[in-house]
Symmetry: C2
Subunit: 187 residues, 2 copies
């Protein structure tokens, strides 16, 4: 997936504006297990997944809880850093070797103030992330873990294969034992 495609998928940009952003991008790769973003740290870059799969997790009383998975095309961001220049909640761990497009937040913010198209691209970007987050929240509040597990199986069957069950269980908000029971019933 090229950076141009990813940018256009968020909000179509004129060639000139698009190149202003694309020029800022650096391609970077890291091995499985690498921690790309760190909790309680102000991050200065955002990333777009070119290849691979990652998880966001936070520590709660010593055991970590996964609250997001990211794959090809997804943005990997500490929203608190990006939006408020504050420390974020999440560690981002690479579940496979990954390649990212890296973008310095400050570079992007400069463009927001200079180019109205890029400002609107940034608006659409935030709006789309907002919708995704709202959907996660509503699904979590309204649907039981088993249904959300079925959704995951349906929408991201590869993810369920590629990711250890314990991470998926904590993502669903149940224990691994409970998820195992659920899976047994589905058989």
């Amino acid at each position: 997936m090229t950076i141009e495609t990813i940018l256009d998928n968020i909000y179509p940009l004129l060639e000139e504006s698009k190149q202003l952003v694309a020029r800022l991008v650096k391609e970077v790769s890291f091995p499985k297990g690498y921690i790309l973003l760190k909790a309680n740290k102000i991050e200065t870059s955002i990333y777009l997944v070119k290849k691979g799969i990652v998880r966001a997790y936070s520590d709660l009383d010593g055991n970590d809880i996964t609250f997001w998975f990211g794959q090809e095309g997804d943005p990997v961001i500490s929203m608190k850093s990006y939006v408020s220049n504050q420390k974020g909640y999440e560690d981002i761990e690479l579940l496979e070797a990954c390649t990212f497009y890296e973008l310095k937040i400050s570079d992007l913010q400069d463009l927001f103030l200079k180019d109205i198209h890029i400002a609107n691209w940034g608006r659409r970007f935030a709006e789309k992330e907002l919708i995704k987050t709202e959907e996660r929240l509503i699904s979590r509040q309204f649907r039981p873990a088993i249904d959300r597990y079925k959704d995951l199986l349906k929408d991201h069957p590869d993810l369920v294969q590629r990711v250890p069950l314990g991470y998926i269980a904590s993502y669903l908000g149940i224990t691994q034992v409970s998820l195992s029971r659920v899976r047994a019933e589905l058989r």
Copy 2:
């Protein structure tokens, strides 16, 4: 709270740009119990609460579940309508007589394409809503209902007074009986 104050709190605007937005705003009032936004409907306006308190809820198997409360200064929006021009999840019910600033979504979108300051205002607006939504999601995933109830008591003591307990229980994701038990333990 004036509309100018609310706009500036989201992202400070130059007087000229601010007036472009302020001119679009219409003040509207409705009685307690009125349904301001309807689920499964594409909404064409967004609202900012000048006075009063509202709740967002969705129907689940016949009983409604509250997932958001809005008060003075808060935006009342069907995000799905605003961002994607699609039907939203939520009914918005007025828990008291309320006054809103109303803004047509299409009017605002026109300005996004014409004025870079307003485009950046729209970006900041989405970004801030995104942070709020993310915080709600993380709090819901990481903290037990009782702690979230304590937070609510601390951050919005008036809300706990003004809103029936059943709504608060469903907002917390527990039954009213369970919330009552929790409250009994706090005494």
